[in-house]
C-alpha cells in the first residue's frame, strides 16, 4: 500500500514539477528574448528536467537518483552561467543563444551536469573518502525492498537489474519515437509532421529527423545497457564469484549512463538534430545545439561501456571458481568476454570522432571541413571503426544466451562447445577488419573496397559455425518449449534472416543498389532483434525466478511471443521488399508513385502490435514480482551452478564456494555433475576479497 501511494505521489509531483519547470523556462526565455514562446525549447527543457526529478522525489525522497538529478540540473545551470558570464565579461555579442544559453555554455553546462550528477547520486563517495584517508566497508548493506534500485548499490545483481530496467525504459522511449514516425509513414504525403507543424522549435520534417535519429541512438544505448544488465547479473554467479572484480567501478559504470540518457533526451528539446545516429559531418557541423547534446550523451554512455567491459574481463580472468578452466566456462561467459574485448578497445573511436566534430563546432577546427583542408570521409572511417564492431557487441551476448539456454531445453550437450566458444572470439576479431563496408558509396578509394568485401564475407564462417552447432544441438533432443525456449527459437530464425541478408550487402556492386535503403534497415533490425531483443527477453524469462523466487506468467509470456514474432516478420520483410524497390532510408515522406502505401500501412500496424506485445511483457514482469507462481528451486532443471542454490540468490551468491568437476552441458550423461559444493548451503562462509582464490 505504501508503495502504491509513493507511485501516485510520484505521478502527482511529475505533473506539478512539469508545470513549475515550464513556468521557470518560460520566464527565463522571456527575460532573454523578450517574447513568450509557448512551444519553445527552453520551457520544454525545464519542464522535462523538473518533472522527472519531481517524479523520483515523490517515489523515493531526496536521496539516490533524485539527488543525482537535482545536482545535474544545478550543475548544468552553474556550468552554463559560468561560460555565459565569461562571454559577458569578454563582451561577446552572443551572450545568450536561441535556446537560452549559447552553444558553448550548453556544452560546458552539460559536462558539469554529468559530473555533479555522479557526486550527487553518491557513487564516487567512497573514492572521495579513500582520498581523505577514511576506510569504507567492502560492501554497504542495501536496504530491503525496491528502494535499493533507486540508490547506489555495489551488489552486482542489483546493478544488473538497474541496467536491465533502465534498458527497458529506454526501449519504451525509443519505441514510442518509432510509433510516432511509423504513424506518419503509414501513408504517403505528410500527415501530421507537416511543414507547418511546430514543436520544440522544429517543423514536422525536422521533428521527424530528430526522433528518427533519437530512435536509433536511444535503442543502441538501451542495447548496450541491456547486455551490461545480463552480463552484470549472470557472469559473477556463472563463474562462481561473489561479485564483480571492482564493485565501485561497476556502480560508476551504471550510474554514468543515467545522465547520459538525460543528455540524449535534452537534444530533443534543444532544436533536435537531423543527422541520424551516424552524425556525419558536414551535416552534423551545421545542426542545432541538440547535436552537441547527442555527442555528449554518446560520449558519456561510452564510459559506461568501456568501464563495464573492463570489469567483466577482470572478473572472468581473476575470480573463477576452482577447476573452471577455459574450456569449462559457461558459453555465455565466453560470449561476454568476446563482447567486452570489443567494447573495451573500440568504443574510444566513436568518442573520438564525435569529440572532433564537437571541437569543429566549438573552436572552428576544420577536421572534416573541406574548405579548411579537412576531410568529411575521414569521419566515416573513425566512426565505423567502432560502430561496426559495436554491432557484434550488441549481438554476441545474445548469441551466447541462445547457446547457453538451448541445451537446458533440449536436454542434450551443446554441440561442439569449443567451436562455439572460439567462433565468438573469431567474430570479434574479424569484426575489426570490416568497417569500410559501410562506405562502399562514400567516395573512399575505389580499389580498397575489394579487400573489405573479402573480410566482410569471412564473418559468415564463424557465424555459420554457430548456426550449424545450434541445429545439431536441437537435432535428436527431447525438446520442450516454455517461454524462454520460444524466444531462443525465435532468435535463431530471426537472426538467420538477418545473417542471410548480410552477404548481399557485402558484394560491392550489389551494395551500390542496397546501400541507404530500407533493405539495410530490414537487415539490421533482423540482426538486432535476433541477436539482442529475442535473447534479451529469453534471458529475462529464464533468470526472472533466480532474481525474485517467482516465475513470470507462462500464458502471457506465450501471448507476448506469438504476437511479437509474426508482427516482426511483417515489419522487416516489408522493409526489405520496398527497400529493394527503391524506398530510401530516413525519409519522412515517400513518392506515392512508388506504390508503397499498402506495405507501409501493414508495417505500421505490425509496429503497433509489437509495442502491444512489449506492453504485455512489462505488465507481466511487474505483476509477477509479487504475484507470480513461487519458484525457488531449479525450475528449468539446469546443470548451471546458480540453479543449485535456492532463489532468490543470496547477497554474495554462494554461501559456500563450489568446485567445477565436469563439463557444463553434459545433459544425458548419467551421474555427471558440473559443479560440486564443498559443504552445505546456509553454512555461512566468510567472504574474502580474494573471492574464488581459496
Amino acid at each position: 500500500m505504501r508503495r502504491l501511494n509513493s507511485v501516485w505521489r510520484g505521478l502527482l509531483l511529475l505533473a506539478v514539477g512539469g508545470m513549475i519547470g515550464y513556468g521557470i523556462g518560460l520566464g527565463l526565455d522571456l527575460l532573454v528574448t523578450g517574447a513568450l514562446n509557448y512551444s519553445g525549447s527552453v520551457a520544454s527543457a525545464f519542464a522535462l528536467l523538473v518533472s522527472v526529478t519531481a517524479f523520483f522525489f515523490g517515489i523515493y525522497g531526496y536521496r539516490g537518483i533524485t539527488r543525482g538529478l537535482v545536482w545535474q540540473v544545478v550543475g548544468t545551470l552553474l556550468g552554463g552561467f559560468f561560460v555565459t558570464g565569461i562571454r559577458a565579461l569578454l563582451g561577446s555579442d552572443t551572450i545568450f543563444g536561441t535556446f537560452f544559453f549559447s552553444e558553448p555554455a550548453w556544452v560546458f553546462g552539460a559536462l558539469t551536469g554529468v559530473v555533479t550528477f555522479m557526486f550527487g547520486v553518491g557513487v564516487v563517495a567512497d573514492w572521495v573518502k579513500w582520498a581523505r584517508g577514511i576506510d569504507t566497508p567492502e560492501h554497504h548493506e542495501d536496504e530491503p525492498g525496491g528502494g535499493k534500485y533507486l540508490d547506489v548499490s555495489l551488489d552486482h545483481k542489483v546493478i544488473g537489474i538497474q541496467y536491465t530496467v533502465t534498458a527497458l525504459v529506454l526501449i519504451a522511449i525509443g519505441g514510442t519515437f518509432a510509433l510516432i514516425f511509423r504513424t506518419e509513414l503509414a501513408a504517403s504525403q505528410l500527415q501530421f509532421l507537416t511543414t507547418t507543424f511546430k514543436l520544440f522549435n522544429q517543423t514536422g520534417p525536422q521533428f521527424y529527423n530528430t526522433i528518427m535519429s533519437l530512435h536509433g541512438i536511444i535503442m543502441i544505448i538501451s542495447i548496450l545497457l541491456g547486455i551490461s544488465g545480463i552480463m552484470n547479473y549472470a557472469v559473477p554467479f556463472l563463474v562462481g564469484a561473489h561479485d564483480m572484480a571492482f564493485p565501485r567501478l561497476n556502480a560508476f559504470a551504471y550510474w554514468i549512463s543515467v545522465p547520459a540518457s538525460v543528455l540524449l533526451l535534452m537534444s530533443l528539446v534543444l532544436g533536435g538534430f537531423d543527422t541520424g545516429w551516424t552524425g556525419y559531418p558536414p551535416l552534423s557541423a551545421r545542426a542545432p545545439v541538440g547535436m552537441q547534446m547527442f555527442f555528449l550523451g554518446v560520449f558519456t554512455a561510452g564510459w559506461s561501456s568501456i568501464l563495464g567491459s573492463l570489469n567483466v574481463i577482470a572478473t572472468v580472468v581473476r575470480m573463477r571458481a576452482k577447476g573452471m578452466s577455459a574450456m569449462r566456462l559457461p558459453i555465455f561467459v565466453w560470449a561476454s568476454v568476446a563482447t567486452s574485448i570489443i567494447a573495451l578497445t573500440a568504443t574510444q573511436l566513436i568518442g573520438l570522432s564525435f569529440q572532433l566534430v564537437m571541437f569543429q563546432r566549438l573552436f572552428g577546427m576544420g577536421f572534416f571541413d573541406a574548405a579548411k583542408g579537412g576531410n568529411p570521409v575521414l569521419f566515416q572511417h573513425l566512426f565505423w571503426f567502432y560502430s561496426h564492431p559495436a554491432v557484434y557487441v550488441f549481438v554476441l551476448p545474445g548469441l551466447g544466451i541462445i547457446s547457453e539456454l538451448l541445451p537446458v531445453f533440449v536436454r542434450k550437450p551443446l554441440f561442439g562447445y569449443r567451436w562455439v566458444a572460439m567462433s565468438s572470439l573469431g567474430i570479434a576479431l574479424v569484426g575489426f577488419t570490416v568497417w569500410a563496408h559501410h562506405m562502399f558509396t562514400s567516395g573512399m578509394n575505389e580499389y580498397l573496397r575489394v579487400p573489405f568485401m573479402y573480410s566482410t564475407l569471412l564473418v559468415a564462417v564463424p557465424t555459420g559455425v554457430k548456426f550449424f552447432s545450434w541445429v545439431a544441438t536441437i537435432w535428436g533432443g527431447k525438446i520442450t518449449t516454455p517461454t524462454p525456449m520460444l524466444f531462443v527459437l525465435g532468435a535463431i530464425i530471426v537472426f538467420l534472416l538477418g545473417g542471410l541478408t548480410g552477404p548481399p550487402n557485402a558484394a560491392i556492386a550489389l551494395d551500390l543498389h542496397l546501400h541507404d535503403t530500407y533493405f539495410i534497415v530490414g537487415h539490421f533490425h533482423d540482426t538486432i532483434f535476433g541477436g539482442f531483443i529475442f535473447p534479451f527477453f529469453a534471458a529475462i524469462y529464464f533468470w526472472f525466478p533466480k532474481a525474485t523466487g517467482r516465475r513470470m506468467n507462462e500464458f502471457w509470456g506465450k501471448v507476448h511471443f506469438w504476437l511479437m514474432t509474426p508482427s516482426f516478420f511483417v515489419l522487416t520483410l516489408g522493409m526489405m521488399v520496398i527497400g529493394l524497390r527503391g524506398m530510401r532510408r530516413r525519409i519522412v515522406d515517400y513518392d506515392p508513385a512508388l506504390g508503397f502505401d499498402f506495405t507501409h500501412l501493414l508495417m505500421t500496424i505490425a509496429g503497433f502490435l509489437i509495442a502491444l506485445s512489449v506492453l504485455i511483457f512489462v505488465i507481466n514482469l511487474f505483476h509477477s514480482i509479487r504475484h507470480g507462481e513461487k519458484a525457488e528451486g531449479n525450475v528449468w532443471n539446469s546443470r548451471s551452478p546458480e540453479w543449485q542454490v535456492p532463489s532468490p540468490m543470496p547477497v554474495h551468491n554462494y554461501d559456500v564456494p563450489f568446485e567445477v568437476v565436469g563439463e557444463p552441458y553434459d545433459y544425458g550423461l548419467a551421474d555427471s555433475k558440473y559443479v560440486q559444493f564443498n559443504g552445505h548451503q546456509g553454512e555461512k562462509h566468510p567472504v574474502t576479497a580474494e573471492g574464488a582464490q581459496h
Binding site: G34, N375, L510, R584
Partner: protein, 338 residues
C-alpha cells in the same frame, strides 16, 4: 536416425527450390534500365539462390526436430549424450570458407563489369545542394546548358562528375541500381549506360537535412534524336535568357537550387516564398520589420543569418557569393514574380 536424415535432406531441397521460385516470381527489383542494372541483378540472383538454400538448410531441420523430437508426455529423461563431431565441425568451417571466398571473387568480377569504361562517354557535371540537383551538360559553341533535370540518350554511357555545395548527398536512380555519394570538396564519379527509355527520378540517398525526403528530380532517358532536340531547345532558351537580366536571374536561381526552398508561386516552403516578395514588409525574428528592397535581398543572399524572417529561425540558409551583377539579375527576376 538414417531415415530422419534422408527425409530432412529431401525437405531441404524442396523447400529451397520453393523459396527461390517464390522470391523470383515476386520480382523484387525495380525495372532494369541500365547495363549496370543487369550486371547487378545477375549477382542478386546468385545471392537469392544462396539465401534460399541456406534458409532451408537451417530452418527445415530445426522445425523438423521441434515436431519429431519433441518431449513426449510423461518422459522425464534426458536425450542421448552427444558432445560434438570434430570432422563435421571442420567440414562446416572449411566448406563455407571456400563458398564465401568464391562469392567474394564473383563480387569483384561483378564490380569490374559495372565499372567498364567507355572512352566516348558523355560527361555531365552534377552538383548536389540542400535540397536540389543541378546538371551541367557538355558545352556547345561556348554555351552551357544547366538544368535541374537529367536528360540522357539511350544506349550511350554517361560519366557523372559529381560534387556537393554543402553536405554529403547521394545520387541514386533505383532503375539504374548504382549509387554514389557527393562529397563537398572533391569530385566523385559514376558511370551509367541507360538501356531503357523512360521517365525516372534521381533520389538523394544520403540524409542531408530537413527536406532530404523531397530531394528528387526527373531523369529522362530518350532516343538520341529526342535528346538532341531537347538540347537544341535548351540552348536556344539559354541564348534567349542570357539577353535580359530577369532571364539570367531565372536561369541562375534554377541552376543554384534556390527554388528548392523558396517557392515562386506562394506555396509555403523551407524559406519565405518569392511571390510578391519585392517591396513586402517582413517581420524579423528580433521583432523589427524590414522592407524587402534591393539592399535587404542583397544582404540576405550574401549573409542569410543577418536578418531572419520570423518563423524561419531554425532554417539555416548557406551564404552564396554571387557577384553584384548576378544578384542584380536575381532581384530583377524576383521583381517579375507578382
Amino acid at each position: 536416425m538414417q531415415r530422419h536424415f534422408v527425409i530432412v535432406g529431401i525437405l531441404v531441397i524442396v523447400m529451397a527450390v520453393l523459396i527461390y521460385i517464390g522470391l523470383d516470381s515476386v520480382g523484387l527489383m525495380p525495372v532494369q534500365a541500365s547495363t549496370q542494372a543487369s550486371d547487378i541483378d545477375w549477382m542478386w540472383n546468385l545471392e537469392v539462390i544462396a539465401m534460399s538454400f541456406l534458409f532451408a538448410l537451417i530452418v527445415v531441420p530445426l522445425v523438423y526436430s521441434l515436431i519429431v523430437f519433441r518431449r513426449r508426455e510423461g518422459d522425464t529423461t534426458d536425450a542421448e549424450h552427444m558432445e560434438g563431431n570434430t570432422k563435421l565441425e571442420i567440414t562446416w568451417t572449411i566448406l563455407p570458407l571456400f563458398v564465401v571466398m568464391a562469392f567474394a571473387y564473383l563480387g569483384a568480377v561483378n564490380l569490374a563489369e559495372t565499372r567498364r569504361v567507355d572512352p566516348e562517354a558523355m560527361v555531365v557535371n552534377v552538383t548536389g545542394l540542400q535540397w536540389s540537383w543541378t546538371f551541367e551538360y557538355p558545352p556547345v559553341n561556348g554555351l552551357t546548358v544547366v538544368s535541374d533535370e537529367l536528360h540522357l540518350p539511350v544506349g550511350k554511357q554517361v560519366l557523372l562528375r559529381m560534387t556537393s555545395n554543402d553536405v554529403i548527398h547521394s545520387f541514386w536512380v533505383p532503375e539504374f541500381r548504382v549509387k554514389q555519394d557527393l562529397v563537398p570538396g572533391r569530385i566523385t564519379e559514376l558511370r551509367i549506360t541507360p538501356t531503357l527509355e523512360g521517365n525516372y527520378k534521381v533520389r538523394c540517398a544520403e540524409l542531408c537535412g530537413t527536406a532530404h525526403y523531397s530531394m528528387e528530380k526527373p531523369v529522362i532517358v530518350s532516343s538520341q534524336a529526342d535528346f538532341d532536340a531537347w538540347m537544341t531547345e535548351q540552348l536556344a532558351l539559354a541564348e534567349e535568357a542570357s539577353q535580359t537580366p530577369e532571364g539570367r536571374g531565372e536561369a541562375l536561381v534554377a541552376a543554384s537550387g534556390c527554388v528548392a526552398c523558396h517557392s515562386t508561386n506562394g506555396s509555403p516552403g523551407i524559406g519565405p516564398t518569392w511571390l510578391n516578395l519585392f517591396g513586402r514588409q517582413e517581420a524579423l525574428t528580433d521583432g523589427s520589420v524590414v522592407t524587402a528592397d534591393e539592399a535587404y535581398i542583397h544582404e540576405s543572399i550574401r549573409a542569410p543569418q543577418a536578418k531572419i524572417v520570423a518563423g524561419f529561425e531554425n532554417q539555416l540558409m548557406p551564404a552564396y557569393d554571387f557577384t553584384d551583377e548576378q544578384i542584380a539579375d536575381i532581384i530583377a527576376y524576383i521583381k517579375t514574380l507578382k
